[in-house]
């Protein structure tokens, strides 16, 4: 290799190193600068917003752009850091106050055309902008936001999907309306995300999950079954019966068996017995589980069968097996001696 090539490569590597170091320094400087700017303007923005909201309260039906404070706020929005600061403050006010103040804040949003900007962002090809759009729409509590949340609840990007689902649960009238879409698919992660949001929100009305048991996507059916169990929805019994009768998917059957046991659904006993009698429906694990479930809801035949003919090795779950054996020990002795 000629010496000139070696020196060119060396020069390139050294330039690369300097570029990376400058990049690190620049990023740090940017972050520090943003923090400094935010700290510098925080009190000023708060005071300006308070004044603006106070002014809007009196002139809510007039041209708000004429209010000097609003004019000032709109001018400040040209700086992205300060704009973010204003938005954060507005969202904070929306979440803390009620009544007149919130009305004024919403009027301010519309005057500053935040909603159109947010909608435009939700349609962006850039992931980060779509997320920003959703956050902005939920911050504003824009009445027409739901359709955008539903659209983005099935986004190909997981982060966008997560944020849209959360926003929908928090702000839409029907928190899980995106499940109505027959194309909606849920991963286990989505299910956990939804469930944790539902459990956090005390005010959200939990829907009857039975309505999604005939969904075309199996993942939605499974999620609904998990939620029926979680929220003990006895109202879903009819849909459960139908699904149990027609389904032969092992996970679906397993989830239904869990529900029968936890909710003590004695009404489902004939369905389980019928499935058990037809040997094709259950694999070995499900067969044992079904026996346990029948035993739990008081089927004495199942109890006898479990005690006399079931080999110990089938009992995999240590807690279940030890609890079961402890509970039935006297009876088992009786059966064995009889």
């Amino acid at each position: 290799m000629p010496l000139s090539y070696i020196w060119s490569a060396t020069f390139f590597f050294l330039i690369g190193s300097v570029f990376f170091i400058i990049n690190i320094r620049f990023r740090r400087w940017m972050k520090m600068n943003q923090q400094r700017k935010a700290a510098k303007y925080a009190t000023f923005i708060q005071a300006l917003l308070a004044k603006a909201i106070y002014q809007i309260e009196d002139k809510i039906d007039s041209n708000l752009q004429a209010i000097p404070e609003v004019k000032k706020l709109m001018k400040l929005c040209s700086d992205t850091t300060i704009k973010q600061l204003i938005l954060d403050e507005l969202v904070k006010i929306t979440n803390t106050f009620e009544g007149k103040e919130v009305k004024s804040v919403r009027a301010l949003y519309f005057t500053m055309k935040m909603h159109t900007e947010a909608i435009r962002k939700t349609k962006s090809s850039r992931i980060q902008r779509r997320i920003e759009g959703i956050r902005l729409l939920s911050g504003i509590r824009f009445s027409g936001a739901s359709e955008h949340f539903i659209r983005l609840s099935t986004d190909s990007n997981q982060a966008v999907k997560d944020v849209a689902i959360i926003a929908n649960i928090h702000y839409a009238k029907k928190p899980l309306n995106f499940l109505d879409d027959p194309h909606t698919k849920l991963s286990r992660w989505d299910a956990i995300n939804i469930q944790s949001q539902l459990s956090k929100m005390q005010s959200v009305e939990i829907p009857n999950f039975g309505i999604w048991l005939d969904h075309s996507q199996l993942s939605v059916v499974h999620f609904s079954l998990m939620m029926i169990r979680e929220y003990q929805q006895y109202s879903a019994l009819k849909a459960l019966k139908t699904l149990f009768r027609k389904s032969d998917h092992p996970t679906t059957l397993k989830l239904i068996l869990h529900i029968i046991k936890d909710l003590h659904l004695v009404e489902m006993e004939p369905e389980v017995v019928a499935k058990l009698k037809n040997g094709k429906n259950f694999n070995r694990k499900l067969y044992v589980k079904a026996l346990y479930v029948l035993d739990a809801i008081g089927n004495s035949e199942a109890t006898k069968l479990l005690l006399t003919s079931m080999p110990q090795r089938l009992i995999r779950n240590r807690d279940t097996s030890s609890k079961f054996i402890k509970r039935l020990r006297p009876e088992s002795e009786y059966i064995l001696t009889a």
Partner: protein, 462 residues
């Protein structure tokens, strides 16, 4: 005069350099994607969910009486709703078990488990009687090594996912939640690894890392830089193209059913972490099942690295032997198209660039010295060549520092950056030759059939 060897070293060297650049580009993309996917997600909130899958954390302990109580406390502080913790006392000769018995009021418990992987005899399984630590199990077994201890833990575990961790590691409170996420998003994931960071000089309070600091000593800083390059460039890059062959033994999460089907960790090797991942991948290929092995760029696990060159040398020696063991056990993979990317790219890369590279570097230096002494090459030319490689290495280290800045932003001080740049300048001339020496020694020991682990003396956390 240009000989065949000149061409050989030139082509080989260029290939090594290009491969790292490609990995760096891929890893940059992988990290960016990860940051995007996880921006603004509150992992703590997800812990409220009752439908989270159960995870069992398995940590083997051997003669750890000095720090075992603090270590277990640290592991118990992990925030995960459905977590069982299994400590495997691998026939310790000190008071490890006694200390655990007293501190956590352990009582023998009657657990029904199937010995699906063959291990040394399990004497007893204990469970904590304290309500707050009731999820703690301790297995007392005869000594059989780390792999055997992990296998015993996997046998007893009662969950679909198992996390294998070094008992002295400090895990981030949300580490399990982050590790579990890829499984929940994609059913094809069979193993997940997390970035292991160096905790030397950092502040640890009650088993939790409260302040990350750049290590003070040069030996620690060299390793710090090396870990950054290995994890943020190498493993992230391989993970992105699903060609990863190793999940660090310090912290990894696996699907238990696949581990069982593969027969668990192999006790005969000192590189059990890499060997298991390669075997799991092989199993999936042979069964014609789609799968993924994923790495997460977030700092999830903090570990203490050796602070003396003697102990570090032993560790590196073991790593070399472990790598050679794995390459030997799975030699069938080499350029085997049946194993797709693993057989055609990953395995050859590890063989040619990870194992062979230090050996060729060693002989390359000898060859250059010979050429200078025999007068067949110019000293200026050789020095220019060495300086080029040096500047390349420095650039790669700077890139790793930038990646670290993007993922953690934990070392924000200006002094920290200057310290790391100085370390990056010194590393190729001070530390790298030592790693070559240890690697060569590891190769010799491998052929001598040496199986020792070598002891690790820990300083403990501040």
């Amino acid at each position: 005069m240009i000989t065949f060897l000149d061409y050989f070293f030139l082509i080989y060297g260029s290939m090594v350099m290009i491969s790292y650049v490609i990995l760096a580009i891929i890893s940059k993309r992988a990290i960016k994607n990860y940051e995007r996917e996880n921006a603004g997600i509150s992992h703590a909130l997800l812990n409220n969910s009752s439908i989270l899958p159960k995870v069992t954390l398995i940590a083997p302990a051997y003669n750890e009486e000095v720090s075992i109580i603090e270590n277990v406390r640290s592991l118990l502080s992990i925030k995960y709703r459905k977590l069982d913790l299994i400590i495997v006392n691998d026939g310790s000769q000190d008071k490890t078990l006694e200390k655990l018995k007293i501190a956590y009021r352990l009582k023998p418990c009657d657990i029904d488990f199937k010995k699906e992987i063959e291990t040394k005899k399990v004497r007893c399984v204990y469970r904590s009687e304290i309500i707050t630590t009731h999820r703690l199990f301790v297995i007392d077994k005869e000594n059989g090594g780390k792999a055997d201890a992990l296998n015993a833990g996997i046998n007893v575990a009662n969950s679909h996912l198992v996390a294998c961790v070094d008992v002295d590691c400090v895990l981030e409170p949300d580490s399990i939640l982050k590790m579990v996420k890829p499984y929940l998003q994609d059913k094809k994931v069979i193993a997940t690894g997390g970035i292991v960071r160096i905790s030397n000089s950092s502040k640890v309070v009650d088993g939790t890392l409260v302040e990350a600091r750049v290590p003070k000593k040069f030996i620690e800083r060299f390793q710090f830089l090396e870990y950054l390059r290995a994890f943020l460039i190498g493993r992230m890059g391989w993970s992105k193209i699903n060609g990863l062959l190793i999940v660090s033994g310090a912290f990894g999460l696996f699907r238990r059913d696949i581990v069982l089907k593969c027969g668990g960790y192999k006790p005969e090797t000192v590189g059990e972490d890499m060997e298991l991942v390669v075997r799991m991948r092989r199993y999936m290929h042979e069964k014609n099942k789609k799968y993924r092995v994923v790495y997460i760029p977030d700092p999830l696990c903090w570990t203490e690295v050796p602070t003396s060159y003697k102990i570090l040398g032993r560790q590196r020696n073991r790593w070399t032997r472990g790598l050679m063991d794995t390459l030997k056990f799975h030699k069938k993979l080499l350029f085997n198209p049946k194993y797709k990317l693993m057989g055609t790219i990953s395995y050859p890369y590890w063989l040619l660039f990870e194992w062979l590279s230090p050996i060729l570097e060693f002989f390359g230096l000898f060859y250059l010295s010979y050429k200078i002494m025999s007068g067949s090459t110019d000293l200026v030319y050789v020095l220019s060549l060495i300086f080029m490689v040096y500047s390349y290495s420095f650039m790669l280290s700077c890139f790793a520092l930038l990646q670290d800045e993007l993922t953690t932003f934990k070392y924000t001080g200006r002094k920290d950056l200057i310290r790391m740049i100085i370390t990056a300048l010194l590393e190729p001339i001070v530390f790298h030759p030592l790693t070559i020496y240890w690697s060569i020694k590891g190769n010799i020991d491998f052929f001598k059939d040496k199986k020792a682990w070598g002891e690790m003396i820990r300083v403990g956390f501040n």
